[in-house]
Amino acid sequence: MAAFSRRQFAAGGAAALGMAFLGSPVFGQSNTRLRCFWWGNPERDRRTRAALDAYQAKAPGVQVSSESIGWGEYWTKLATQTAGGNAPDLIQMDYRYIYEYARRNTLMALESVMPKPLDLSNFSANARDCGKVDGKLYGVSMGSNSKAMIYDVAMFEKVGVKSLDIGWTWDDMARIAGEISKINPGKYWGTGDNSRWEQGFEHWLNQHGKNMYTEDGKANFSREEVAEWFELWDKLRKSGACAPAEVGAMNTGGIDMYEISRGQAAMSYANSNQVVAFQAISKSKLGLSVFPNTPGKPSGHYIKPAMLMSVSSRSRAQEEAAKIIQFMMNEEAGVRALGIERGVPGSVEAQKMIAPDLDDLGRAQVDYVAAVTKVAVPLPPPPPKGAGEIETLLRRVADSVAFGKQDVKAGAAQFHTEAVNVLARA
């Protein structure tokens, strides 16, 4: 046959169009479409999609499209979509950003959908209230976490450390790390470099009884304190306990880039819920512990929402979105699909639902959060606008100290001055 005639083309097109309508199961039904957006890792994506699929199976006519991306790009994309009036219906929110988004009226106050369909009566007061801004609830905590040191169990056993006491100190850490560094010198170190992580410095300040930022968003630390922090890590690097600058600088923030994930150190510093994602890409068995203590000082750990789920104030399916949150937080299928990857659930009932599914590491995480709760310091106010920039600033300055481009004192002065400027400008 030669070319397709125009009539054949038209007939074929009409047929195809008809088929498309017939083939579509939702044709004629009322159809609710929602978008759900989160940051994360492959493990979280898998779990969240499973939860959303389970929801769609029991709620015909609801279509949830999902999208996920890394932490850094997430906030870029969310801000762009929000500014363009095209925010997703379900927004994974962080404690760091919830005040900013809520106060600009981009999030929905959830009181209007409570207690039906969204029922948080099983949540502990702390887990519920951490999503409140100016007295109204803008986000539901998806799980609690605290900062945690993640370590290679086998390496610790090699130097005779079976378990870590909750009161272990910086001196203990220096000794253990130093011994581990001797196992495979020049290739593998005791600890990754945490001098460059803003939240590591924050923890150290919390340990000394201070918050990193004041209530009104100013820097609450002196250059002497920065110098002390840099000095602590400088000593660890010089003694060989801590990985050198070149190794530390490779860590650009993704879970796969941490020293422990790259097989270059036995300790890395992150958040307790992230141990699930760390273990997913690690060949060796991992454990978690508090950060090292300063004797006679507070632990410096606080319990915070690992992440929250919010609903866009411009969503056209707010009721449905609330039902999805309810499904994820309170109904067995949703709760079990998500598991403990986003932290320990805020509801006691949900904790019971996931208990049978937990592996050793999952149980370790639950125990960890329970143990830290007993020694925790109060949750500081959310970091101010500009804190994200301080994160990159500290990384840059700490690296320049580690590479020996400037000494501890000069580095501390630079970090302090620039941090004050960044916060003033934000």
Partner: protein, 309 residues
């Protein structure tokens, strides 16, 4: 008065004839796209350059504050400029020298020339891509292929090239030089234009190869060389992807790979200073404009076209 206006408008009217209409219709998608998606945002960014704008709240007019801050206080701005110029001044001459050398070798008609030409062009097609930048990261990291080869050949343990602020920028220069394909093709076309008689006459007069290169090849290739310089310089100013991928978007370590475009991106999309980023973009536009103008002015002294004199 009336008559004058009519006289002025009539030639314009006669220029637009009915048969032009389809032409304009066919051009309409492009023209609309240009106005809406290129010219519109460009002009909007000029306006935003004088504001403080964080995407979520409306822009606030702050006059020339962005520019005064940039020139008087922003050390990262000056550092980004320094990094970009170091990169450009190394990358452009090296890449062009490499491209010219390969083009001359190919011009001599080696066997399988077409295959090699295609092979040498491949990196230019791939080079800007994310995959290659990721590959580069693997090659130059501490236990990467480069160090394994060094260890095997010389028994030297190399540093982690990409995570050391002293060497990271040079890995990016090498990556760029490797993409010599497109200037090479242009050089090759230029070389083929040079009449063979000139070389014959020169060799009869006893000129060495070296002399022939300086006296015949280079002067006759000057217009092509000039085109490549201008083009590659602009490309170098715009370089972004490799630095973004290799440093994980940070421009690190210690801002050693903080290209101007990367800094601009960070200010806009990581720190949400859209106004300031717009100002940075316009300053970059002016810098590229000035550099290109200077190249054109300087070219009067060394580039001669056949149809001149």
């Amino acid at each position: 008065m009336n008559g004058v206006r009519k006289a002025q408008t009539s030639p314009a009217r006669s220029r637009f004839r009915d048969e032009d209409l389809p032409g304009y219709l066919f051009m309409a998608p492009w023209i609309l796209g240009f106005l809406l998606f290129t010219l519109g945002p460009t002009l909007a960014s000029l306006g935003l350059a004088f504001t403080k704008f964080d995407l979520l709240s409306p822009p606030q007019w702050i006059g020339v504050d962005n520019f005064t801050f940039m020139f008087t206080q922003d050390q990262r701005f000056w550092n980004a400029l320094r990094v970009t110029f170091v990169y450009l001044l190394l990358e452009v001459p090296l890449k062009l020298a490499f491209a010219l050398a390969i083009a001359m070798a190919m011009d001599k008609g080696i066997r399988g020339g077409d295959l090699y030409r295609a092979l040498f062009y491949v990196p230019s097609l791939l080079g800007g891509s994310v995959a290659i930048a990721v590959l580069w990261r693997q090659l130059f990291q501490g236990d990467g292929v480069v160090n394994q080869v060094l260890l095997w050949l010389f028994g030297v343990q190399g540093p982690s090239w990409i995570s050391n602020p002293e060497t990271s920028l040079y890995t990016l220069v090498i990556l760029a030089v490797w993409q010599f394909g497109s200037p090479m093709i242009i050089f090759l076309a230029g070389l083929r234009q040079i009449p063979a008689e000139l070389y014959e006459a020169a060799s009869i007069d006893g000129a060495t190869r070296w002399k022939q290169f300086w006296r015949i090849t280079l002067p006759l290739l000057a217009p092509v060389l000039f085109f490549n310089i201008v083009f590659q310089t602009i490309e170098a100013f715009k370089a972004f992807t490799p630095a973004f991928i290799i440093s994980g978007g940070t421009g690190g370590p210690v801002d050693s790979t903080l290209f101007y475009t990367l800094y601009l991106y960070q200010e806009a999309f990581a720190h949400f200073r859209m106004g300031y980023a717009s100002a940075l973009a316009w300053v970059l536009l002016v810098i590229i404009g000035v550099c290109t103008t200077l190249s054109f002015l300087a070219s009067k002294y060394w580039v001669f076209y056949e149809d001149e004199r």
